[in-house]
Amino acid sequence: MLTINNLNFGYKKNVPVLKDINLTLDSGFSLLVGENGSGKSTLINCMTGVLCGSGKIEIDGVPCGSREYARCVSYLPQTFDVYPALKVGEILEFVAGLKGVPKKEVKQAVKDAAQRTNTESFLETKFKKCSQGMKRRVGIASALMGDADVIILDEPTAGVDPKERRQFYRTIKECFAGKTVLISTHILDDIESLADNIIMLSRGKITCNMPYSEFISSLGREATLEELWIHYQEAGNDTVE
């Protein structure tokens, strides 16, 4: 379980980007949504240890920034634009090594991840020769390494066509079933297809954090996702739990 307590962060003094964030993520797919500049990427950067704000971020008591925390989290950046000269297999082996997979088990772990993401036949292919869809699958395979409890995906479907997006949803649902998954997105299709929970950020504050079923009916009437989006973005400073 990932918990965030009283997280505040600002790039400049007196200009907060994240304001008093309190969040608990349990197993299932949580979708972090918000318009551009709402603080999604900053929150993810804090959760991955790139940025350091005040407050606490922990996974079952393991603090963010520790080596153990890094092993508990798999992170897939928006563009998995890694070293083109490396082979797919080498990328996965490297990630496995860093995620603490024992040396003897690395080969098997790579094989398993490749099987689950359907990239097995590309292990000897250089990354630069992979298609965009294949690169995304390699990214998922790398997130599978080390059997992390928490998976963070940053805008994974940005720039992906609808057909490929469907394939992507299927893959991550299969691969990350039972895990705590946080997906940052502003694509409504992602919410509809994946969300167990919705976390909405507006101006650095959480304006909505609820199960998807509640979210849909939260206006007391049948509303479209666009309407809900606009409603919670305009909710301003009031946090809705």
């Binding site: 991955t48 240890g49 790139v50 920034g65 080596r67 925390y69 890094a70 989290v73 798999s74 992170y75 897939l76 950046p77 563009t79 998995f80 634009d81 890694v82 070293y83 000269a85 490396l86 080498e90 990328i91 490297f94 990630v95 090594g97 860093l98 995620k99 990214g139 790398s142 997130a143």
Partner: protein
Amino acid sequence: MFLNLIKLNFKLIFRSAVFWICSVIFIFAFGLTVFMYDYLEFVNYSLILSQSGYIIIILFILCFISAVYFSHNKTVLEQSCLTPVHIVYKSKFAAVLISFMTFCIIPVCFFLVLEIIEKNGILFFSLTILYMVIYLIGIISVATTLGFLTGYIVRPFYAYIFSIPFAVIFSILFQNTIFKIFGYYKDISFRIYHMITMNSFFGEGVEVEYRGPNLNILFLIKFLMTMVVALLLCFILFQVLRGKVRTFSAVGTVFCVAAYIGLAAAFWKYHPVRYNDLEKLYILDYKQQPYEITSYSGDINLKEWSDYSISVGIKKTGEADGLTLRLDQSMKIKSLDIDGKDVDYKRFGDILEIDCNKEEFTLNLSCGGRISYVNELHSVNIYTTNTSCALPPEFAFLPKIDGDKSKKQYDLSVKSNNTLISNLDFNKENGVYKLSGNSQNMCLFSGFLTQTEIDGITFYHASCSRKLQKSFEAYYSRMNSNSISVFNPDTYDLEKYSGDEKSKVFMIYYLYGNNNFFVVYDDYMMYNYGYPI
């Protein structure tokens, strides 16, 4: 984690086109220098690096721009594993640094070929490789660290352009600017230039070819200075990567600054002293002494800090109050007595005044010191190191009396780590050279030397030269010309020479104000073979 990251970076570097393009450029530049300067038929291939300043500029630029390139690489893969940024870049930097150190293999291969051609022996080859590797490691360390730091701070493409000003500052190209500031051809200008430059210093002068690679204390200090600069840049890089000042890096930075100041002071102290021929070798203005030296006997140990214990037989030839000797100021007196009794003495520079009024006596002297002089042609040509020495006959390594032309009896034991030659008769016994004979003066040269006997004349020369045969021919041709001019060290002038050939001819570097003319002594002759061009 760090090892995994380093392994990954090695893979990336050795698979990158940048690394291999840089390697090819360096091979081409090195090869071009070797062939352009005709080193394949030349003496002492260890001089290639010091004589070819442009190779160092090329190497510096290659390392700098490569480090910028690799510091600009995206680190998405490492980020996806939640690796802290400072560890990602530290490992990248370490991999770049180590990878570019492999450039040392290129000169090693060239030197191996040159060694096979010249056959200078394992000692010469090993010392040359050691010298070259130390020298290149210093340059690669600074260039890579500076490039990586610049690349990390300056993300835009123009970070590469910084290689030019830095290459200028650390190379021979900056010499003119320093000379403009501190004065042309002044000692201070050379010292400051030698302290800053990455190029081999004294490459601007003619180097003594039989010395071999110039591995001495000054070279070691310069290397340490270079490494301290690289380390200082590392600590700055670490602080930039962390985004804040950490105690370890701050202490490291202060340590590096302090170490650099200390090393710079040592560099200044051990930098060769500029000398003038008329003050150090050819003393024309002196007061005739009513004394003669009759003999020298004792032990000499030739190394970077040489020392000796000798007994000098001196005879009075007229009325005098005291004895004035010439002894180079580098040689510090440890003990001095006359016939076993302590006497008062005074030293002023090279002058040693002894309070003595005996008719005939023995001066017992124990001295030690480091000799390192550079002439006005920027050539370090009076020196002693652990593997070589150049002590011409006029130089007051042993005490001498100005104007004393009498013949002396020599009986000396000289310890030398390399081949020793002298105008005296010498033979090697149990690693010690026994020197004996009667002569007006004594010269000692050691290094990578050998001898060839032709027509009853023993020619002493550097052991490394494929063009030597041509020099013998040139010698005979000059000796057989009708009006041969020779340099007279007593008058510092030229004169006609029609005397017999001497039994010993030194065909070694010999540019001690004699402008390449023969210098003839009572029992030997100096012929500058020097640095054949």
